[in-house]
């Protein structure tokens, strides 16, 4: 309307509007970044600035090593403080992305003389990268459906609980940077697809390289993008842009991926990558066909097609045969266990107990969807519909992305994390389209210049039956009324209408005013619910560092800091080269916090070794002592929750020790520990159970605490109450008994007569006696 009076500055007004819009978007993006960062600080505020859980401690330790010794030492790092006596080549078996990122940040800060400790940098890496991730989401969604959808998606991602659960301050894990890398790689792919620029294609390969560095989940990218390319080809959307987006990615990306030590030749040898090569071939064939089609006459082309197809079939057949032969020659068909369990959800529980024993590898339950993505679950379908109108290359990609990630998240809880960005993008699109429609119809019905209170009255006056009379009619009706009020006297004046009516026909897709307003309010309410849920989830559900437990009782907050208490004890009061045996869950923490050598840790690369510890834990005291002694173990650490009711203790994990141990050493039979199909520790328990090391170490002198030996986790009295340890002695128990550390007693002096017998026995069954799997390490 401003243009009416002054047509000259019309262009400048739009330019101004654009500039203002850009500035506003930048401001909103900055605020989104701040939001993403600060919503993840609950853990620091409620607890402290500390590394969380298990794996982050390993990453923290690696980062410390990196910052102390430099990058070259890091690549060559052979860690002799874990997997004793095997050790572990850290440099070659770790995804270095996260560590290098945090190490670089630390280095830059320190060279600017900003003295932040490595720990601080590690704690805050995840929140910083989630801000980056929400910006990347903005870019990706902007490429798909414009900046409005981008902003909506970014703000949703900034606080989606699923992502928060993996990226609160202190959760220093691969996923923290990998999600950013994932989204950014997708963005660059879409950007290349939209622009056809080789520059972006190169960037895309680099982003993919970063993703490969960061997380094993990169296989998701290298399978999803080929699938999309295939989809585009099949639906006849092949274009040179598609070729530029895909071909450089495969070539450069595979070369770069092979540079990462942990991937190496896997980038061309394992089945996870084969899809990309297959599609690479296909896209070249298609490109060739298009090219030939361009230079041949239609008739010639037909001849050529029959020729090529017949030859192509033969070549394809040969290639496929070679591939099949290659794949079949490897025992798992070239697929790693975790990937296989993705394709067949029951695979892990059937064949690999060590994968099945990790709770985050279990399939999720329905409530966890609601917990983790909340209202997004309902917005996603709307987003998918919005993506189909109209369907473009980029919107078909996000549709494919959401479909695949929904499937994967259904297999493994942990992959919910991959679903979250997709759900945010879809919901962002849905929300933005809905807002567009609703605000559009409101704006059109309120017209440009009149004041809004008038309109509100008008709409109230408007007869109800008009609502059913079709959208356009309704719009006109309102305009009529509005103009009539404005014109006051000249109600019948026909010439009065056109100027307003010209605007009136603006859009065919117009909803009635009340409907739009109500819908808008409902949408805002939905958003508010989402925000409330996210803040609640961030504050209550996902911020516990798990090494410190708190409980709210009547006399205030009670802190259970037993883990660090005992790690501190180990670190200060045992010899620096002592070996500590515990179940593998506590391996990373023990090496990182107590700086002691462990037998097994959370990097479960050697099943036999873990099975050995499991066997020792489920053997009677003497046999266990022999196994541990042969491993040079000085201390045994068990986690016991029976006194205060901490449920995830070693007795509850005991079934995995038996299962994994029994999987390798058949003399451990699960049935021996089961009574009526259950692991019981009460008076009904089997004698094997009551005599195994885990039982004894957990319940040693437990009965003296209350006289009955009531276990608060299992809610029962223990079966065997009074017993003595002959080969172990208690050296430390933490304040709430959550961690108990025992020392192996030195071997008794040998009696002359027995010594001979023992000696002969030892020589006969040495380390190599695999045939006699009775006592594996003696």
């Amino acid at each position: 309307m401003a243009a009416l009076e002054s047509p000259q500055p019309a262009a400048t007004t739009t330019a101004m509007r654009h500039a203002f819009g850009n500035v506003l978007s930048v401001l909103i993006l900055v605020l989104i970044g701040v939001l993403a960062f600060s919503i993840r600080l609950f853990s620091v505020i409620k607890y402290e600035s500390v590394i969380h859980e298990f794996d982050p401690y390993f990453n923290y330790r690696v980062t410390q090593f990196l910052s102390k010794n430099g990058i070259y030492e890091f690549w060559n790092w052979f860690d002799d403080r874990t997997w004793y006596p095997l050790g572990r080549v850290i440099g070659g078996t770790v995804y270095p992305g996260l560590t290098l990122t945090a190490g670089t940040i630390w280095w830059v800060l320190n060279s600017l003389n900003i003295p932040l400790s490595v720990e601080t940098v590690c704690v805050f890496t995840a929140p910083v990268f989630s801000a980056f991730a929400s910006w990347a989401t903005y870019l990706l969604t902007k490429e798909v459906k414009g900046s409005g959808a981008g902003l909506a998606a970014a703000v949703l991602l900034a606080m989606v609980p699923s992502y928060i659960s993996r990226s609160v301050a202190g959760s220093y894990d691969n996923e923290a940077v990998a999600i950013f890398a994932l989204i950014f790689t997708f963005y660059l792919y879409i950007k290349t697809l939209n622009t056809g620029s080789l520059f972006y294609a190169t960037l895309n390969a680099l982003a993919y390289f970063y993703m490969v560095c960061s997380w094993g989940g990169y296989t998701f990218i290298i399978n999803l993008i080929p699938m999309h390319v295939l989809l585009c080809i099949v639906t006849g959307r092949y274009s040179p842009r598609l070729y530029i987006a895909y071909a450089p990615l495969v070539v450069l990306g595979t070369l770069l991926a092979a540079l990462v030590p942990v991937v190496g030749f896997n980038a061309v040898l394992t089945s996870e990558h084969f899809a990309s090569f297959l599609v690479f071939i296909i896209i070249h064939v298609v490109a060739l066909v298009y090219y030939i089609k361009g230079i041949l006459t239609p008739k010639m082309f037909k001849v050529a097609v029959t020729l090529v197809v017949s030859i192509g079939m033969v070549v394809c057949f040969i290639v496929v045969a070679i591939l099949v032969a290659l794949v079949a020659s490897s025992p798992t068909g070239g697929w790693s266990g975790r990937s296989l369990s993705l394709l067949d959800p029951t695979y892990a529980s059937k064949y690999i107990p060590i994968i099945a024993s990790v709770s985050e590898h279990q399939p999720p339950t329905w409530p966890s969807y609601f917990m983790d993505i909340n209202v997004l679950a309902f917005l996603v379908p709307a987003g998918i519909i919005a993506c189909f109108s109209p369907l473009s290359d980029s919107s078909s990609f996000v549709v494919l992305y959401i479909v695949m990630s929904v499937y994967f998240s259904g297999v493994m809880v942990r992959l919910m994390l991959v679903l979250a960005p997709a759900a945010c993008i879809m919901s962002g699109i849905a929300l933005s389209q809905a807002f567009d429609v609703f605000t559009g119809s409101i704006k059109y019905q309120l017209g440009g210049s009149s004041n809004s209170t008038d309109n509100a009255e008008d709409t109230n006056n408007a007869p109800k039956d008009d609502a059913s009379a079709g959208k356009t009619d309704k719009g006109e009706e309102i305009v009529k009324e509005r103009s009539s009020k404005k014109g006051k006297k000249k109600e019948r004046e026909p010439a009065d209408k056109p100027s307003v009516k010209s605007k009136a026909k603006k859009k065919a897709l117009v909803l009635p005013l009340e409907t739009s307003i109500v819908a808008l309010l409902l949408l805002i309410m939905l958003g508010a619910f989402y925000v409330i849920h996210c803040v609640w989830a961030a504050a209550e559900a996902y911020s516990a560092p798990s090494i410190v437990l708190t409980s709210q009782s009547r006399d205030g907050l009670h802190v259970f800091d037993d883990f660090r208490e005992s790690y501190a004890w180990l670190s200060h009061n045992t010899d620096v080269d002592d070996k500590v045996a515990s179940w593998w869950d506590y391996g990373y923490q023990t090496t990182a916090m107590a700086n002691r050598t462990v037998i097994v840790d959370n990097n479960t690369w050697n099943n036999t070794h873990i099975a050995t510890v499991g066997t020792a834990m489920s053997s009677p005291e003497k046999a266990a002592w022999e196994i541990f002694n042969s491993l040079d173990v000085k201390y045994v650490l068990v986690v016991f929750g029976g006194l205060i009711g901490y449920p995830s203790d070693d007795i509850n994990k005991f079934l995995w020790m038996v299962r994994i141990g029994g999987g390798v050493f058949p003399h451990i039979k699960e049935a021996d520990y089961l009574r009526d199909g259950q692991y019981r520790i009460d008076s009904e328990a089997t004698p094997t159970m009551l005599n195994c090391l885990m039982y004894k170490l957990s319940y040693y002198r437990f009965v003296e605490t209350d006289g009955k030996g009531y276990d608060r986790v299992r809610r029962t009295e223990i079966g065997k109450k009074h017993f003595k340890l002959t080969h172990f002695e208690e050296v430390f128990t933490s304040h709430h008994w959550m961690v108990r550390i025992y020392k192996l007693k030195p071997a008794r002096n040998r009696i002359r007569g027995r010594a001979k017998k023992l000696k002969s026995k030892t020589t006969s069954s040495g380390w190599s006696s695999k045939s006699e799997k009775k006592n594996p390490w003696v």
């Binding site: 243009a3 009416l4 047509p7 000259q8 019309a10 262009a11 739009t14 402290e48 500390v50 600017l112 003389n113 900003i114 003295p115 000249k490 019948r492 004046e493 026909p494 010439a495 009065d496 209408k497 056109p498 100027s499 009516k501 010209s502 605007k503 009136a504 026909k505 603006k506 090494i547 410190v548 802190v559 800091d561 660090r564 208490e565 005992s566 790690y567 501190a568 004890w569 200060h572 009061n573 916090m593 002198r701 003296e704 605490t705 002695e729 208690e730 050296v731 430390f732 128990t733 933490s734 304040h735 008994w737």
Partner: protein, 609 residues
């Protein structure tokens, strides 16, 4: 066990040598009265002596010799000699005079005034010894009580004749296992008394051993690093890193938490759980942590006189157990920084704020603000000094650090030290200015980057394409503005029609029509070259059809509008009724609205490009 036997051998040697050399060496001073008190209620032995010195000889004397048996002298942590009247601290230094056996440590005290014949003087000596309470037995189980042994001499070891002397030992109020019984030995409650003994020759010595239970915390900091960082923004930040060990009898066998919790008194008496730190008043932002995170077991009480921090290590410390922790706190600058003679000085306590803590190696680092000059330190006792540079928080030159080191520090060393330096307030602003200029440069670079043309090749196809595209965009804008003008003209025409319906004055309406006609003609003339350019430009190939469509639509709209105008004006001229006219133009009206809508859609589309 080994250590104590060594001590016993030492003692024997000492006795032997003393017997061999009966040196009348030193001056003729006589100690007319010696009173010694040994306090062993804590983990160290604090010896207070009052010596009445008389000079019976003729020479005037200005030096006094203090002697200790070597095994005590080696563990001497703190020694101060005072006179009561006049109140003065006397300077003490280690001496090595000839004729004194190796088994005796000698310190020489410079007297405040020379003693001439017959003069007398009373010296107050305070000496603190660490490691002299030997745990015996050296290893105990969790349930056993903690016994320690003190070895001393019942008679004051002195190179001078002692006329009258007495010794009292203050023991902790607990069980006493055994003590040497000499003549004149009395045990009153927890106080053990030897003496008085009269007229003993120089170097008299009679060893005594007291074996008793100690409940004191044998907390020893093997190493303590105190970092005191002075910031002229108003804060003194103190960070203290403790490596604490329990130096009592070592724990042997199991540690049972059950026994410790259920029967703490017999089954955990040898352990200590708490340490008490007495911080300066107005200490704030106190934290207590170790290298794996915050330690939640601490309590703080503060009033205007002091701040008391009761800290509990992560686990109770039994004999031989070690732990590490860090405490930190901020202090208001105004309480510790003073100015004198154009210099500033920090006046701050040297030792650890922990009560009854012995520090084996104390390192105090006073970090002064960047740009401090002329640094000097005064300390009440001798310490090893050195200088370092510390880089922190955007420093360029680094902050000067005064490093003071001292071994074997006891609470008696908790005296104030002064660090003098010169500092100009301008330096305070350097870092904020640096930050401001940094951001300024960043923004300027951004502005320059977005405004300037950085393409390397001016003839590359992409660059040319970009230039062309810019031109196309400019043309598009012009086209848009022209169309907008046309639309405005249409609006004017409509307005004139409205006026007509109100006033019925069709002459003005016709005039308006004429002016609009000419305006529109001009505009369409302007539009032609632009359209030509768009058609010819290759990069506008996908837009030009839209633009053409727009122009065509606009033409159509114009025609329709004109037709409507003519109809209406004619209608008025013929004076036909309003309803009639309305009926006649109804169909045109609809088309106009549709066209207008289409044009606006097209405009929007172009706008989005």
């Amino acid at each position: 066990m080994k250590q104590s036997s060594v001590v016993v051998v030492d003692l024997l040697l000492l006795l032997l040598t003393i017997a061999v050399i009966a040196t009348p060496a030193f001056s003729d001073l006589v100690l007319s009265k010696v009173e010694r008190r040994i306090d062993v209620t804590s983990q160290f032995a604090r010896v207070t002596k009052s010596l009445k010195v008389v000079n019976p000889g003729s020479e005037s004397i200005s030096e006094f010799m203090l002697t200790f048996p070597k095994f005590l002298g080696n563990n001497l942590a703190y020694l101060s000699v005072k006179t009561k009247r006049p109140l003065a601290n006397l300077s003490v230094k280690k001496a090595d005079p000839k004729g004194i056996p190796d088994s005796i440590s000698v310190y020489s005290v410079a007297l405040p005034k020379t003693l001439s014949k017959g003069d007398s003087l009373t010296l107050e000596v305070v000496a603190t010894f660490t490691n002299v309470l030997q745990p015996f037995p050296e290893k105990i189980t969790q349930g056993e009580i903690h016994l320690v042994m003190l070895q001393e001499s019942a008679q004051y070891l002195s190179p001078y004749t002692v006329e009258s002397q007495s010794l009292s030992i203050k023991l902790p109020n607990a069980r006493i296992e055994s003590y040497s019984k000499l003549e004149n030995t009395k045990l009153q409650g927890s106080e053990l008394k030897y003496g008085p003994y009269k007229n003993l020759p120089p170097f008299s010595y009679s060893p005594i051993v007291v074996h008793f239970e100690s409940k004191a915390a044998f907390a020893v900091a093997e190493k303590l690093v105190r970092e005191i960082e002075v910031s002229h923004w108003g804060n003194v930040q103190v960070t203290e890193h403790y490596n604490v060990v329990h130096r009592g009898a070592q724990l042997k066998g199991e540690f049972s938490r059950l026994d410790f919790q259920a029967r703490p008194n017999p089954r955990g008496a040898s352990a200590f759980r708490h340490l008490l730190a007495r911080l300066p008043p107005r200490a704030h932002s106190i934290y207590y942590r170790d290298d794996i995170g915050n330690i939640s077991t601490s309590e703080m009480q503060s009033d205007s006189k002091k701040t008391e921090l009761l800290i509990e290590p992560r686990f109770p410390l039994f004999g031989g157990w070690k732990t590490f922790f860090t405490i930190g706190y901020g202090l208001p600058l105004s309480d510790f920084l003073f100015a004198s003679e154009g210099k500033r000085f920090v006046n701050i306590s040297f030792g650890s704020p922990m009560i009854d803590l012995v520090t084996e190696k104390l390192i105090v680092q006073v970090v002064l603000p960047e740009g401090s000059k002329d640094i000097s330190v005064t300390t009440p006792f001798a310490v090893k000094q050195s200088r370092e540079i510390k880089y922190s928080h955007l420093d360029i030159a680094g902050r000067p650090v005064v490093v003071l080191e001292k071994d074997n520090v006891v609470p008696d060393h908790n005296q104030h030290i002064q660090v003098y330096y010169k500092f100009s307030n301008i330096n305070l602003l350097s870092e904020p200015l640096m930050l401001i200029s940094g951001f300024f440069v960043l923004f300027i670079t951004c502005i320059i980057y977005t405004r300037a043309d950085f393409s390397i090749s001016k003839s590359s196809p992409t660059y040319l394409a970009k230039l062309q595209w810019d031109e196309v965009l400019a043309t598009l804008q012009e086209v848009q503005s022209i169309i907008q003008k046309c639309l405005a003209a249409h609006d004017k025409l409509e307005a004139s029609l409205r006026d007509l319906s109100r006033t019925g004055d069709f002459q003005t309406c016709k005039a308006a029509r004429k002016s609009t006609d000419s305006l529109l003609k001009d505009l369409s003339k302007e539009l032609k070259p632009l359209l030509g350019f768009l058609q010819s430009s290759p990069s506008a190939s996908h837009i030009s059809p839209k633009v053409e469509e727009l122009v065509v639509k606009e033409k159509e709209l114009q025609e329709k509008l004109m037709a409507k105008h003519t109809t209406v004006v004619e209608g008025y001229e013929k004076k036909s009724s309003g309803r009639d006219i309305e009926n006649r133009i109804a169909s045109q009206q609809q088309k106009i609205i549709a066209l207008r809508q289409e044009i606006e859609d097209l405009l929007e589309f172009i706008d989005e490009i």
